[in-house]
Amino acid sequence: MERIKKEIEPKSNEIVVDMEDVRLGFGEKIVLKRVNLKLKRGENLVILGRSGQGKSVAIKCIVGMLTQDEGSVKVFGDEVSEKNETELKELRTRIGFLFQSGALYDSMSVRENLEFPLTRVLRMREQDELDKNVDEVLEAVGLKDAIDKMPSDLSGGMRKRVGLARTLIVKPEIMLYDEPTTGLDPITSREISELIMQMQKKYKTSSIIITHDMECARITADRILVLDNGEFIAEGSYKELESSDKKIVRSFFK
């Protein structure tokens, strides 16, 4: 019931990420053939696809870590590859990127990891304010006890959650989650999926979620895209794709 309500809830029609006919290769190897993707404001878009199909590559174009060979990638209406260093930096402060690996700074404690984007990007100075933000976000990912630990003392799942906390702490307008629940137990996975929903509700975050976890897709997705062979081969809601006539699409839902 709740699901249905969500689907008909009107989203704003503003398009925040717009990829058009994006082609990208490394040397001879073409990874993205023709990728078209539109992300609306406030929407949760899930990308499914087998390993090595270029899902991570696609979202790296959005933050300008990789540049497409052809086509255009527009974020908030501006072409990313045409931005200069300052503009790119400014854009990046509005986008959160959760790395598949978590990418914690391993010379810093959890607290320092979380303070890093606050002090360096948001230029926050007051210790009270820093503490407040750090506590709040750690509470959200359920890791309050780990605040003074070093990344090397954390388990893989904990590291992932700290990585998520570090991305969420600056409250970005667009969130790019690269496999947020991979390697986590079902309970934590569910919590993370719900956290993604919370972010969407509370801060009107628009998100792209790459995942292999169908439970996560079911909970979070407003819309799902399936990437295969460098193109999106299917688009629709969870229900629609579950009964898709393409075999490869259906096979994700088993």
Binding site: V63, M65, K89, E90, R92, T93, I95, G96, F97, F99, Q100, S101, A103, L104, Y105, D106, S107, F116, P117, R120, V121, R166, T167, V170
Partner: protein, 257 residues
């Protein structure tokens, strides 16, 4: 075959170009502000602390060995009173700076290369960049400036310890008071020895930090590239030290003698 040679050259030219770019990025970041004082101090401490023992021991042994080796020759010419002069001039002008720099190339440059290399592999540098923070400022500027400051200091300490080693070695066979020895050394060393020697250690320090950072920052993805980054940092930093040394010697010949 010919094609391979061409691509080898091409790669070399490309890499030189990249290094120049990296150098440019370093200077841009030094002057744009937002300097990371805490990280800089931490790096200075780490670099000084991690290398002090090694530099100290090596310099001490160099001082002792140099003295013991030179003594017989000087005695043959009846010039053993010249021993402090000879040893102090060689330590201060050449051996101290170069040995210290080479040790630090092995220890610090490779350390920086491996550290930044593994940060690159585990996407930490990408994460920093994508978050809108500035990895160049936080990781590179601090480390290069720290080595540029600490290598000269380590060299001064190394020189002093080397001279002390030499003093002990002199006293194995002769008796010479510390005051006398020290006086002889001071008389032997002029400003025109100290200044070029000190100046070149600044460049050595810069090269050590720069090469380590460049190799680490630009290493490929994949775990073996961490090893490659560390390794080529040592090799390149050492080569640069010798190259800079030749240039420094030539320059100081022209300027001071």
């Amino acid at each position: 075959m010919a094609e391979q040679e061409v691509s080898g050259w091409k790669k070399w030219v490309e890499e030189s170009g990249e290094q120049v770019n990296f150098l440019g990025a370093f200077f841009r970041n030094v002057f744009t502000g937002g300097f990371e004082w805490n990280e800089f101090v931490r790096q200075c401490y780490q670099i000084g602390y991690r290398s002090f023992t090694l530099v100290g021991i090596t310099s001490f042994i160099m001082g002792v060995v140099l003295t013991l080796q030179s003594r017989p020759t000087l005695v043959k010419f009846g010039a053993n009173s010249m021993l402090p002069l000879m040893v102090s001039v060689s330590i201060i002008r050449e051996i101290g700076p170069v040995i210290t720099a080479l040790i630090c190339a092995g220890k610090i440059s490779s350390g920086i290369g491996a550290e930044l290399g593994s940060m690159k592999v585990t996407e930490q540098i990408d994460a920093m960049e994508v978050s809108g923070a500035n990895p160049m400022q936080y990781l590179v500027v601090t480390r290069i400036l720290a080595t540029t400051l600490m290598i000269p200091l380590l060299t001064l300490l190394g020189d002093a310890i080397g001279l002390f080693g030499s003093f002990l070695a002199v006293n194995i066979s002769d008796h010479m008071s510390w005051m006398l020895y020290f006086n002889k050394c001071l008389k032997a060393i002029s400003f025109s020895d100290l200044l070029p020697a000190f100046t070149k250690t600044i460049f050595f320090g810069f090269a050590i930090g720069f090469i380590g950072c460049y190799k680490g920052f630009n290493s490929n993805k994949g775990t073996e590239s961490v090893g490659i980054a560390a390794n080529s940092a040592v090799v390149n930093a050492s080569l640069w030290i010798f190259f800079l040394d030749v240039v420094a010697v030539q320059l100081s010949q022209i300027l001071f003698y």
